[in-house]
Amino acid sequence: MRKILLVATLFCGAAIPANSQGDGKPNAAPSGGSFTGATANFAPNAPAGQWTQQARDYANTRYSPLTQINKQNVGRLRMAWSFSDGQMYGHEGAPLVVGDTMYLVTPFPNIAYALDLSKPGAPIKWVFQPNPDPRAIGKACCDKVLRGWSYADGKLIYNLLDNNTVAVDAKTGKEVWRVKLDDVTKGPTMTMSAFVVGERVYVANSGGEMGINGWFQALDVKDGHTVWKAFNNGPDQGMLIGSDFKPHYPWMVGKDLGVTTWPGEMWKQGASAAWGWVSYDPDLNAIYYGTSNPGPRTPSQRPGLNLWSAAVFARDATTGAAKWAYQFTPHDEWDYDGVNENVLIEIPWKGARRKVLVHFNRNGFAYTIDRTNGEVLVAKAFGHQNWAKEIDLKTGMPIVNEAAHPYVGKKVENICPPDIGVKNWNPSAFSPRTGLLYAGVFNSCMDLTNHIVQYIPSSPYDGMEMQRHAGPGGHWGEFIAWDPVQGKRMWSIKENLYVWSGAVVTGSDLVFYGTMDGWFRAVDARSGKVLWSQKLGSGITAAPMTFVGPDKRQYVAVYAGIGGGAGVLRREKGFMPGGNTLYVFSVDGMGIGNGTTQLISQAGAAAPVSVPPAAHN
């Protein structure tokens, strides 16, 4: 009887989330069950305690099956150890753990560290300093960040801000190869996380505001040579668009649309940079990634659909041949990049199961798209937006509100969301246990005045002048749970500032995320109830992760080092000073790295002296 009562109380607790906004129906699932029936393929099925890629799996779920830290003991999480890497630009990536070693890479100047988790204090095993070209500093739009790094084939592989991809021997910290992929003096940089599948490393450039021509390429893991390269604008040939290319909607079918949907030769500065995440489906042998805003940001200068900006691509992972694409925001007028993560899951749909990708777009709509053919099944607003009435599922086109069109030299007030979106690159997480996605989101709007811009190489090809303000309710951010089948919120937690951290969800139904005012939280994945909060030394704009140490203990780790695009709120109350500390938590703070006696570190290398970079964001 007691047990039943307890279950009933727990269930009620779940049904009436403490922080619910009330805009989603109360949870309908039995406690312990899935709300949606959605599942995922967790290939490459890394051992439960390890974290070898940024999103843990190819599908980009950021789901960890670990359960040692659970709802009962999560309130006892304390710091086990921490590590400051000395670099002051924004920290965005998640640490990787392979065997007894943790791998970290700093923002510019992109120094890599290997830490020995088997020794007290997790001392430095080796340090690798790639010394990238400092001219890259002035070209990176949104701070001098790196969104992650990959481990594969005994190597740590990552991008340098100056457009080199580098592979470092994971045992020795010595450079194995380095390939230069673009010219920093012309404006591009590289900030995305290299993504590895088997023999291939997938990388792309950044520079949506710099009038670059975006590309995406597959490199060989062994020596870094380019296996294939696809541009994101321009003639079909350079884009690897051939007879296999079958977009679902007719308006995206035609020859050389990457040229003809632009005036003259403007596609050459059309940006469409793939600076976000890559995912991979082993059954379809397909990779998925999105493209940025078109250049210039002032839309009246580039009448046309501006394909293939603000779009998602499905490509054959081996050859690069495009399979289909879908443009989220045709002729983007607001800087709604399409680069956010594509989470690959399977959902029940009209009596069958469909392989889909779920994508929270900057434009405020969460898309559930059949990833075999590019058909949009669900497109619903996941936060506050007013630029579009809806996405017409027959055509795949948004129905744009007249009041949201910007003008040159005239201020248009209250367009929602602003350039920064309802969500940015900060990656969401998916739990197969709840069938829900978890994402940090933004609640804000802009007053927008456009300017005509000229293309001057290595300077911004931009033209948007805006004032951003908080949306309805006055809070800038939220953390939400999302049903990708119904297209609705299950619960939401309001936060003072944008929630610009990634998320991780575990097998014990805990979701972790951080806030820009420095709170790291654990939340009940079913109810949205906050179970634990810890204030850290800087705002959190990085992705958390969880792992098992050599002592068989579960840890949760996150960088506190505010920066990146989050700098747009630097004048808001609560915005914290920069930082560079990785915090590692365990139940009661227990671990190899602490105790009541004199513990001694046995380090393998010394950190370089960190020179504070110039004081710009």
């Binding site: 990176a140 300077s459 090809y461 931009d462």
Partner: protein, 112 residues
């Protein structure tokens, strides 16, 4: 004759005298120069990096009174003309001496 006049004008143009760290801005405080500087700040894409209100973005805030490369008008001129090692482009090939002084005048007018 034309040439002579031109040479004379160039010689007497205060802007052309060698710009040093100690040079004062011949156009400082002049309303038409400030207005021309404002237009150039947009036209040359300075605003894309430093924001239309000069408070910074990709590049630093130019209104906060803190100067990495020197606060004197001659130093600011030099930074704009020559660029910097950390990615501020050089503008001496894209703007005339007078235009750079106009932009400096605009930046000076925005100091908090």
């Amino acid at each position: 004759m034309r040439k002579l006049v031109l040479a004379f004008m160039l010689l007497t143009s205060p802007a052309l005298a060698q710009v040093t760290a100690h040079s004062t801005n011949p156009l400082e405080g002049k309303a038409d120069a400030i207005e021309a500087g404002r237009a150039l700040f947009g036209k040359m894409n300075c605003a894309g990096c430093h924001a239309y209100d000069l408070t910074g973005g990709m590049g630093p805030d130019l209104t906060d009174g803190s100067w990495q490369y020197g606060a004197k008008p001659g130093e600011v001129y030099h930074t704009i003309a020559e660029g910097t090692p950390r990615g501020m482009p050089a503008w001496k090939d894209k703007m005339t001496v007078d235009e750079i002084w106009q932009v400096v005048a605009y930046i000076q007018s925005k100091k908090q």
